[in-house]
Amino acid sequence: MISELFTAQVLLGILTSGIRLATPYLYAGIGETFGQRSGVLNLGVEGQMLVGAFAAFYVARKTGNLWLGVLAALLVGALMGLAMAFISITLRAKQGISGIGFFLFGLGLSDLLFQTLLGSVQTVSGFRPLAIPLLSKIPVLGEVFFNQNLLVYGAYLLVPIAAFVMDKTTFGLKVRAVGENPEAADSLGVNVSLVRYITVTLGGMLSGLAGASLSIALLNVFQQNLTSGLGFIAVALVYFGGWRPWGVLAGALLFSMVNALQLWVQVLGLPIPSEFAVMMPYVLTIVALVVAVQRVRPPTALTKPFIREG
């Protein structure tokens, strides 16, 4: 039975869907990485994703234009990020709890709008796979890596860009400084609050986009609680990835591959109860958190509001 799992075709299927499924984790996780590196824990990712997913789906369905849907998701994500920034930076609220508030808000709002504006589960024809010329013709690998849709490519492009911005640019340096030692950054003339506002709002936009990638690129539907915990996992992946974009990529891939494997276990009807297969990624995440936490240290100022002395 187990050997059935390891035919070339199945492995390829797992790889292809694993690459696809990592998309929302990448967008949300990288956005969250910027927020946390600057010292703000945004636990509202799940809520931002839900609202973003709905906005993208609704706009795309009404206008028939997928890019307008993406734009809508970015916009509502930015608004929710801005609200989170205001609450946690200007009002210095406890971040874990305010995040839960935003999660409930997003969960309720997306459900409310879904029921009033759509009424039933509908589908949309989302982003189609776009074969990259030449590269997609590479045997085996071409199909896996270069015949995905645009939002998937975008997520993978974001990783090196985010790593570059974080490690090689002045802005990235400011983000890291503000997250490690806000007092020192402040004394050197860095506007701590502004930097944090930017990262948290950016995080909101990327969470919105993560939601859009689900509703108009991967699943092409919207329903109540579409994300079902995905946003919380994205936050966990930031810890797992040691607060680095490449680390988040590794975590997202590991997680989505296990998820894809789990789907195939069900498709092939292997004698493992599907519930245990679904459970696997979460158990893995807890184990990964245990391992990851011993390896790297979180940003020193994470969850600590900055109060300027004097």
């Binding site: 309720g108 915990g229 519930e275 245990f276 459970m279 979460y282 807890i286």
Partner: protein, 385 residues
Amino acid sequence: MKQRLIEFWNSPVIDALLPVLATLAALLVGALMLLALGANPLVAYGALLDGAFGSLNSIADTLVRATPLLFVGVGICIAFRGGVTNIGGEGQLVVGALCATMVGLTFPDGPALVVVPLALLAGFLGGAVWGGIPGLLKAHFNVNEILSTVMMNQIAVQGMNFLLIGPLIDPVQLERASRIPQTARISAAFDLPRLAPTRLHLGTFLAIVMAVLVYILLWRTTLGYRIRAVGLNREAARYAGINVPRHIALSLALSGAMAGLAGAVQIFGVNFRMFTDGSATGFTGSAGFHGIVAALFGQLHPLGTIPASFFFGGLLVGANRLQRAVQVPAALIVTLNGLVVVFVVGTELWRQQRARRRVVERPSEHDEPSLTAIPPTAASLEGKA
């Protein structure tokens, strides 16, 4: 007179009203949303109030709905006072309910006076284990408990689905081949006593008793002192010789135990069997999350959580009436609950500033005990204990 007014405005009384103001602000936002959806906010909120408190039956329903919120909320208070955040109420509630159901189904002919307390204890312990695992991970491996409790929720849901489709499924469902994922009904002899003709059951009183007990635990026992000392300042607590990891794990385990008890009481007082729609919400009604809202609203104090739970239970019950009256989905209330949380934590800074101002403005003028006094250090607490 003016002086009096200013003094009143600066007094802690206004602080206690802050959550109420936060709720009013959330309701105001809700009114705008209702207007945007083409519904009359007055009619909608009128229906909500009527649905929640309009008759003896609706008041009883409100109390029943408030019961799991109160259990979970009291648990949240313990965790918070111990300096940890428990987002795992949903999973702990599910595990507690499963454990209690199993006890009820294992001894169908036992005396109720033995089986029911045993089942509640099983729920308590099940929740304690489910909260204790993230607690131990936090205490010994410094794993962020917010994330691990969220993962534990998902694991609990899958475990529940597996058990209810498989080993625990109602034999009747197997015979009929309808295979609805639910257990058999527990023996009717085990149902918690009810205040007929309403649905109000003994569990509500049990929840209130637990809230009082937890208050005594936290403020009148050595264990409670230690938990709060660890919550106030881990370093100081460690310096005072308190075993910090143990008390971190313990506060999460106790917090989980309360949620587990909520699940057990749901089974024996409301549902009489365990069922699932595939998600946690199907069984819990998101009590694990709404309990956090209630605890925050009650200023993270077990006694304050009692009225807060009744208030939010009322909102949730009234939401259904609102939905029927103005055709706006009950999900509106979940949205507003989220806003209440955001507003309550958003006004925390203001409260701190007011507290500081009081200390500055009235430097030991009176000898009255001040709410704003600097909290005792762990060392002095230990000395007393």
